[in-house]
């Protein structure tokens, strides 16, 4: 290794480890947001690389919409248990019961409401920094966000008034009640994530790999049939070989047609795909050109 150039994955990995250590050293009470999705599984491995042989200096936190795929929740619990790390789960149901989230109907998409429960969880535990797995290549509002993204006491992101971020000298300071969101894999792309999963042989939920599933065509997308999504009159249930590129809310996360059975085959598919990750799979991001930006301003990741 010593006379060879480092690869992009080596450089990205070292950058992410450096960021996590800065959070641990400078923030009083950080948390690592961990959903059991592929990006957060990469984050968990990076955290292990940053802090082993010690335990992680922060708990894992999941904001559960209860619209998650059961395979993802199972993976979340297994990984946290295998590593013996502390996992805190807070559910949107809790906020619904308290009345801080009011749904128009029970099976409405829930991604937009995660910010409410996240802010309540931040307040409950007094977290001053939440480490998340957002990437800048996902969406154009994210492309403009800092690695250390400052939020006011309402959890709001002000895109026009961000702290300048120079070199890798991060300003982690907040006043009481304020919060920082930290994105150690800001500079990773979907391809980098898959290459890293392959390189590190990471265990991820099997719905990321091709499998046969019942789907229906709705609103220009294919939706997986589940207890939350049932065919409406006139809709036909089909069986298809599919995989998920993202694993969010089951009511609005679409799989893509695929025969890729492992990370290497997904890398090959990703190299020739012509649709962005969120464009292919997230109905809620397609509602307006600025939907992610608006949700971020409200305290969403």
């Amino acid at each position: 290794m010593s006379n060879q150039s480092f690869t992009h994955l080596d450089v990205l990995e070292s950058e992410s480890i450096h960021i996590m250590r800065e959070v641990a050293a400078e923030c009083k009470n950080p948390a690592l947001l961990f959903s059991g999705g592929k990006d957060s599984i990469v984050m968990l491995r990076l955290a292990e690389k940053a802090f082993r042989p010690a335990r992680l200096p922060f708990p894992l936190v999941h904001i559960d919409t209860e619209h998650n795929f059961p395979e993802v929740i199972a993976c979340r619990d297994k990984l946290a248990a295998d590593l013996g790390e502390r996992l805190i789960v807070r559910s949107l149901e809790g906020s619904i019961k308290k009345g801080t989230i009011v749904l128009k109907n029970a099976d409405q998409g829930r991604n937009a409401f995660q910010s409410v429960t996240l802010l309540e969880t931040i307040a409950e535990f007094g977290f001053d920094a939440c480490i998340g797995g957002a990437r800048r290549d996902e969406e154009k509002a994210r492309a403009k966000e800092r690695i250390f993204s400052f939020r006011d006491e309402f959890g709001q992101w002000d895109p026009k008034n961000q702290r300048p971020e120079l070199w890798d000298t991060y300003n982690t300071r907040v006043h009481a009640g304020e919060n920082i969101r930290v994105f150690p894999i800001s500079n990773w792309t979907e391809m980098d994530i898959w290459e890293y999963i392959a390189r590190e042989k990471l265990y991820i939920p099997d719905i990321y790999y091709a499998h046969e599933r019942e789907v229906i065509n709705r609103d220009n997308g294919i939706l997986p049939v589940s207890h939350l999504v049932q065919p409406r009159p006139g809709e036909k249930v089909e069986k298809m070989m599919v995989r998920f590129r993202t694993v969010g809310d089951m009511t609005c996360t679409c799989p893509v047609a695929s025969h890729a059975r492992n990370a290497q085959e997904i890398i090959e598919e990703t190299a020739i795909t012509r649709i962005t990750e969120r464009g292919a799979t997230r109905m809620d991001d397609q509602t307006s050109e600025a939907s992610m930006e608006l949700r971020k301003k409200e305290g969403y990741f």
Binding site: T7, I17, R21, F51, A141, K144, P164, W167, V174, L294
Partner: protein, 417 residues
């Protein structure tokens, strides 16, 4: 994608009128990094805005709602694309006058700057400004992209005259790794493909240059510098006595058994192990993140720096620096601020404000304060000694940020001279 792909970070500087967004759009489009849904979104927008037929590639880089409404770019945006040879991160910086701070921000992590000019207009004041900032922030490689060659009949004479003028200016700033490329981003000449119109040009198109420029020596490879980020004490049965010093090697190389000096205390000891999650290493180098254990028990904490080299860093409470003021609130020379330098955070004050640089003329003016986007030479005092090198020698141990304790905002970026 091969597993030996390198990462190159570059920025583009120039105004909207120079065709900067079109250039980025062209790089992404011709290297097949634009996805169909992105293309269909900007096609829709082009039509809605009454565009005539051609898709406006510049729309790809408009990120936020406010920008789309006002047709401007308000902040640094990062874009990603890849070729089989390299992964690229583009720091897209607005060229407008009041955004010097954005260019300083994006340039601080860049290996290379592409400075765009309009072939019809030649070297302008803003070209000089962008070049000065690139030299100040120490971006190792510069490319002058002479765009809109289609508007000057692809004239070799025009291109040569612009390059000669620019080279003379760049030499004054001590910039030597500099390449001039004629191009038409609109038509795609010399961006990814060579095109048919610039056959007299012997050099590479932009993308080929980006793929091949040597970046291995952009990091200082000789002076070992290792700021301690975090002290690892697992206190488990298995690792009862383990005490590891975690950090990232900012420059140089370290090998097991090397004698290092711990600054600012000046004590020396030896490296016992280089620990990583993937197993212990015999040797490691920048920019690896590792954990070091030492042969002696010494009181070490975050903010200390391990060093080993023929040239030792300076350890001092006083130093001089070039400063870029980033905040809307002007500098108050009577106030105390906070400096973050490597992993050390200390109180500071301004001992002197020597002069302010006019970034358009490079003239020096005396000044009683600093406003946003001002660049100046200052003398600073800090509460506890810092361990530093000059910025020219070492981008990591020569840089710092200034934080206003009242607002917690980052108000300045400094480069130690």
């Amino acid at each position: 994608m091969s597993n030996t792909t390198q990462l190159l970070r570059f920025i583009t500087a120039g105004s909207v009128d120079d065709g900067k967004s079109t250039l980025i759009g062209r790089l992404l489009h011709d290297s097949k990094s634009i996805f169909e849904d992105q293309l269909s979104a900007i096609t829709k927008t082009s039509e809605r805005r009454g565009g005539m037929g051609a898709v406006d590639l510049s729309l790809l880089t408009d990120g936020l709602q406010a920008e789309r409404e006002q047709g401007i770019t308000i902040d640094v945006a990062y874009r990603y694309f890849a070729t089989p040879k390299r992964k690229f991160i583009i720091g897209d910086t607005p060229g407008h006058e009041q955004y010097t701070r954005n260019m300083v921000t994006a340039a601080s992590t860049a290996n290379l700057t592409v400075i765009l000019i309009d072939a019809r207009k030649g070297v302008l004041t803003q070209t000089r400004r962008h070049t000065y900032i690139a030299s100040l922030v120490g971006v190792p490689h510069i490319v002058l992209a002479v765009n809109k060659m289609d508007m000057v009949d692809y004239s070799e004479e025009t291109f040569d005259a612009i390059c000669a003028e620019y080279r003379a200016f760049a030499a004054q700033l001590g910039l030597h790794d500099m390449t001039c490329i004629p191009m038409s981003a609109l038509n795609g000449d010399m961006v990814v493909e060579r095109g048919e119109n610039l056959n007299w040009y012997q050099g590479s198109p932009l993308l080929e240059l980006l793929e091949n420029v040597v970046i291995d020596y952009d990091i200082n490879t000789t002076d070992f510098r290792y700021p301690v980020q975090w002290v690892c004490r697992p206190q488990t049965q298995e690792y009862h006595d383990f005490r590891g010093y975690m950090g990232r090697i900012e420059s140089g190389v370290i090998t097991v058994g090397d004698e290092i000096t711990i600054q600012p205390s000046g004590r020396t000891t030896k490296v016992k192990e280089i620990v990583t999650y993937d197993g212990n290493l015999q040797s490691a180098r920048a920019p690896q993140s590792v954990t070091l254990t030492l042969t002696d028990e010494i009181d070490i904490s975050r903010g200390d720096m391990f060093v080993m080299s023929a040239t030792m860093p300076q350890v001092s409470k006083e130093f001089e620096a070039m400063l870029c003021w980033l905040s809307e609130l002007p500098l108050d020379l009577n106030r105390k601020y906070i400096i973050k330098h490597t992993t050390r955070v200390v109180k500071c004050s301004f001992a002197r404000l020597d002069y302010r640089v006019d970034v358009n003329t490079l003239e020096q003016h005396s000044s009683a304060t600093l406003n946003m986007n001002d660049i100046a030479r200052v003398a600073m005092k800090v509460q506890l000694p810092l361990v530093f090198d000059s910025y020219i020698k070492n981008r990591f141990t020569g840089s710092f940020i200034v934080i206003d304790e009242a607002t917690n905002n980052t108000v300045a970026a400094g480069m130690i001279t």
